[in-house]
Amino acid sequence: MRPRVRLAVAIVMLSLAIGPPAVSSAEIPLDQRRSAYQDMSRDNKAMQDDDTSNPGMLAVLDGEALWAAKSGGSGKSCADCHGDAKTGMKGVAARYPAFDAASGGPVNLEQRINISRQQDQKAQAFAYEGKEMLALSAYVAMQSRGEPIAPHDDARLAPFIEKGRAQFNQRQGQLNLSCAQCHDDNWGKSLAGNTIPQAHPTGYPIYRLEWQSLGSLQRRLRNCMIGLRAEPYAYGAPEYVDMELFLMWRARGMKVETPAVRP
């Protein structure tokens, strides 16, 4: 091989090894967005659509009881301050994560519930991903079912949406993949027999048949990170909340399905 050709080959090899710098994928046009619901089997759709066959509704019943249960040093229930969740909580989950002035950043629905438990009810915080937290967040989020996802138009949230977006486009883990490479660039194609969804968080907390239980969006994000062989963050980490914020912004206008069923 002549030296010049060898040099050219070396440059090609080097650029392949490094890969394109900070892949910026094309975002999905708003009118082409679809919920993973649309890609489910007829049986799974039927399971979600019927409130007497949707297992997420069992947790919603628990959440309804928690909403009315007096708790903590204040001796008050959620309902004592917020009233009937059916009216008071309508559309609330569709606006989360929201800016929290006290912490100077976004908080998600679960964190807001715990802030209220600790500060207003003088009660112990619910454990992340615990049965109570899932039940109460499912009950609150279900009041927004059918409402469009509408993140607050708050300038203070903008830098956190950008952080979430950067994470979404950041290659990570041993597989060196970004979220965007699957969910922006290759949605609709197959990955090991499953249709790659667009990753819109329309129905959280979801009842996932694989989990045989309800799970939060952060559990789902952990799941994906483990799949990338990246080290997942701890539950409630600000990185996850930024990501949730970005994903909700990305799904703005889509309808809330909570409690959704997913395979």
Partner: protein, 107 residues
């Protein structure tokens, strides 16, 4: 938290009509085959039987095993013969028992 149930029985039916009954109950259905993070076995905790009676007469019975997923969903059909009550009962490990009922009007 106590077990939750969701029952779907049509509130009205014509005499002789075949109706569908759908039941869902919250239960972990722990198989007994799994181990926890320190290697000790997690004891079995499943629902073992489900019975449905229609005005006191047994019309459906099922035995459940470890292979059934959490929150068992059991659905079956029967003929609406007269107005009355469907009584549903689930029993399982560790003294688990749960009852629910639904009324139907047959015209």
């Amino acid at each position: 938290m106590a077990a939750r149930t969701l029952i779907n029985v049509p509130p009205k039916a014509k005499r002789g009509e075949v109706i569908q009954i759908k039941t869902l109950i919250s239960h972990i259905m722990e198989t007994g085959f799994r181990h926890d993070n320190v290697g000790s076995p997690i004891p079995r905790d499943i629902i073992t039987s489900f019975v449905c009676t229609y005005n006191g007469e047994k019309i459906f019975e099922a035995t459940l095993y470890q292979a059934i997923a959490a929150n068992p969903f059991v659905t079956f059909h029967t003929v609406a013969t007269e107005s009355g009550t469907f009584a549903l009962q689930w029993t399982g490990d560790n003294g688990f028992t749960q009852e629910a009922s639904a009324k139907i009007t047959v015209e």
